[in-house]
Each structure stands twice: as structure tokens, then as C-alpha cells.
């Protein structure tokens, strides 16, 4: 992809964390919209995937995000009792209580997976959360442990393979 300025890729030398965010449509996504409308500046490392409700977020999403090279994952939705779908976030929360402990048990540190409740009015909070997560993960460095798990899947460099 050399059509844009090559500098972007040169700058890559310095570690910049990849953060995948799963956010609910009604609160956090809208909160992030508000942050935008308020022109609150954020670091550029986060990529949002919008789902209707935190209840929709399956732990496999998070595993897949790590498999796809994320250095950190952020899950965010409506505050308890504010869920657009009444109870989706309660069920989600219960899910995470287990899943977090499971990840800890297999050695995936808490610094890689973050949770927040950000309402549609909390544009400022969203910015703080995102920047906080990015900073934390940047400090931790690349998620080498999991990247190693992925290496077997690395697409071979053309020179390594016998091209057909």
C-alpha cells in the first residue's frame, strides 16, 4: 500500500499499540460521537467495532481480536441499569467476571483487556478511557506472548515460499 505517504509506515518503528474496541451502539458509540462533536482529541490507536449491546459481545470476539494482532481490547457499554435492552449489560458483566479470571489464569494480564461503562453523555469520559487504555498498553509493550501464538499462521514471505 504505497499510495499514501511512506512516512506513516516508517513511523511504525516506534511501538504503537493496536487497540480493538467493542462498543454498544446506544451508549458508548454515541458517547464517542459526542466526544467527536465536542472535538475532544484522542490518540489514533483505537478501532471501534459497533454492536447493538454489550450483551452481544461474545468472549470469542476478544480472543479473535488477540489472534488478529490486537495488543489490547476495550469493551464498553451502557452503565448498569441504563442498558437500552434492559439487562444486556448485566448478562455481559457476569460473563466477563468469569472470562477475566480465565484469562488471568492462562496468563493474559488484565492490562490487555479493559472494560468500561460510558454513557452517551460521557464524551469526556470516553476520551479518558481510550487514552488511558492506549497508554497502559503502550507501556506494556506489544503483546508478544499472544503474537507468538500467532506466528505459525504468519503468511510466508514470498522469497521463503516457492511461488506457483
Amino acid at each position: 500500500m504505497n499510495f499514501i505517504n511512506d512516512d506513516i509506515f516508517m513511523a511504525e518503528e516506534k511501538f504503537e499499540p493496536k487497540i480493538t474496541c467493542f462498543v454498544c451502539n446506544w451508549c458508548t458509540y454515541t458517547g464517542a460521537d459526542l466526544a467527536g462533536t465536542s472535538r475532544l482529541k484522542q490518540q489514533t490507536n483505537a478501532r471501534l467495532i459497533r454492536v447493538p449491546c454489550t450483551g452481544r459481545i461474545d468472549p470469542v470476539f476478544i480472543i479473535k481480536a488477540f489472534e488478529s494482532g490486537a495488543d489490547g481490547v476495550l469493551v464498553s457499554g451502557c452503565h448498569p441499569a441504563d442498558c437500552h435492552y434492559n439487562t444486556g449489560n448485566y448478562h455481559a458483566r457476569r460473563r466477563w467476571i468469569f472470562f477475566r479470571e480465565l484469562l488471568k489464569q492462562v496468563g493474559i494480564p488484565e492490562s490487555r483487556l479493559h472494560f468500561s461503562w460510558v454513557s452517551a453523555s460521557e464524551g469526556k469520559k470516553w476520551v479518558d478511557v481510550v487514552n488511558g487504555v492506549i497508554d497502559t498498553v503502550r507501556k506494556e509493550g506489544p503483546f508478544e506472548d499472544y503474537h507468538k501464538v500467532n506466528t505459525e499462521f504468519a503468511f510466508p514471505e514470498p522469497e521463503e515460499a516457492v511461488c506457483s
Partner: protein, 288 residues
Amino acid sequence: MQELIQAAQAALTSKEAAFIIGYALTPDGKKTRPFIARTPDEAAKLVFNHTCAHNLAVYLTRIAKPKEGKMGIVAKGCDTRAIVALIQENKITRDQVYIIGVNCSGVTADVTLPFGADNLPSKCIMCQVQVPPVSDVLVGTAAPYDKPKDAVTERMQLLEAMNEHERFAFWASEFEKCIKCYACRQTCPMCYCEQCIVDKTVPRWIESSASLRGNFSWNMIRAFHLAGRCIGCGECERACPMDIPLMLLNRKMGMVAMQQFNYRHGVNPEEPTLVGSYNMQDNNEFFK
């Protein structure tokens, strides 16, 4: 033994049960294995001894439910937890099973070695249900036995003492071995889905290849799907040909259920399951 056979024969004769899932000796007479008796004659082959480690409840969802009569099953105290759990999860109803409860004096971890304190599976060391809490008929005697320290508990502590990278490396070396045979799943009484998430192809969330990545996701998700549901029978670990210490994950999930929700699955058929219910007061601390 006679007591067990009589109970089974009575149930079959009275058509109370259409068949009895129990244990029979292997031809060498040294071990036992699952056996399904359909006639009183066949029921005469049923036995119960220290080698009856299998949790037969797994068959309750694998064998077609008979039209007449109930499914009879020989169950140790620990096995009845699986039965209750299946009732809690709508897989069976209490009146579809006829439980021949056996008072148990412990089973062996390795069937080729003699029974004794150094050959006990974790479930027997932790056991609190030598007498089955639910049954339709109760047979046998529950003799006390020596309970040594539990190896799983000790390994849990070792794991706890490690830092994250060490722990990750530990699991990487364990999961590396996994061959994706799914013996852990097939032997689990609580793994009854007709299509497991690994078999789902659209999309394939969990890679079916036995590479480290797929193995990580498989083993994590397997444990997660059993979080709050695992009844701790240890069959998965026993079946795993690669000796992956799956109980270290299952036990952890069980501990979360106990510590945060004071909940044990498969104890009370009326109790709502942990997954699928919620409490407004659930731990909220980890949310920013």
C-alpha cells in the same frame, strides 16, 4: 454387588427403567467400563468397585430417550451432580431418569494400579458426597478412606505464584500438545451441544487445526463454556490423551462461581443457573 444387581433387575422387571447405564467388568476382570443393561440377565453383569471412575451421566444426553420407561443410571454421589445439572439445564427431567445411587468409597485415578491414598483422583480427595444426595434407590456402603493432599490444589497454587509470562508460557507448552481430538468434550456430561462451537464453520471462531493458536482458543472457550456449569468430575482431564491439566482451568472457574456467587452447579435442580441470570450487585469494580 448383589444389592446393585437386584435394584437394577427390579427396575428393569417393573419397567421402571427401560435400560440401566452401569458398569461391567472387562473380560480380564481387572477393570470396569460403561455397560448398558437392557434385560434382567444383562443386569446381572453390573458391578461397582474402585475402578468405576467414569461419570456415566454423559450417556444421558448421548443415548436416545426411550419411549417407554426411564433411563436408569448407576450414579455415585459426584455423578448425581451432573444429573442434577442436566435437569437444571433442561436436558432431562427428573422423571426421565431412574437413579440407582451407589454409596462410594472412592475410585482409582489409574485403573491399572491398586486403590489407595496415592491413587485417588482429585474428585475423590475433595469429595463431600460419598452418599448420593439424590437417588431413587440407594445401594452399597460408603467406607471412609484416606484423603491425601489434592494435587490440583497444589498445582493451582504453583500457577498462582507464577507471573503472567510464566503462566502464559506454561499454558503455551501445555496447549501446544493438544491434538484437537475433543475427548475432553466428548466425555464431559455438560458438553451436550449437537454442534460444538469448534464445529461451527460459519464462521469458524475456533480454528480446528491443532496449532497453538487454535489450541489456545479452543481450550479457553471450552473452559469458558463450562464456567459456572462444570461439576468437577474431572472426566475431561482423565480422557485427555495428552495429559493437559484441564482441571486447572475448570477449578478456577468453579472457584469464581463459589467465591463471587456462592454457587455450585448441579446441587439444587430448582436453582437458576449462574449463566443466564444476573444480579444488579454483581462485581462492578473492574469497569472504568
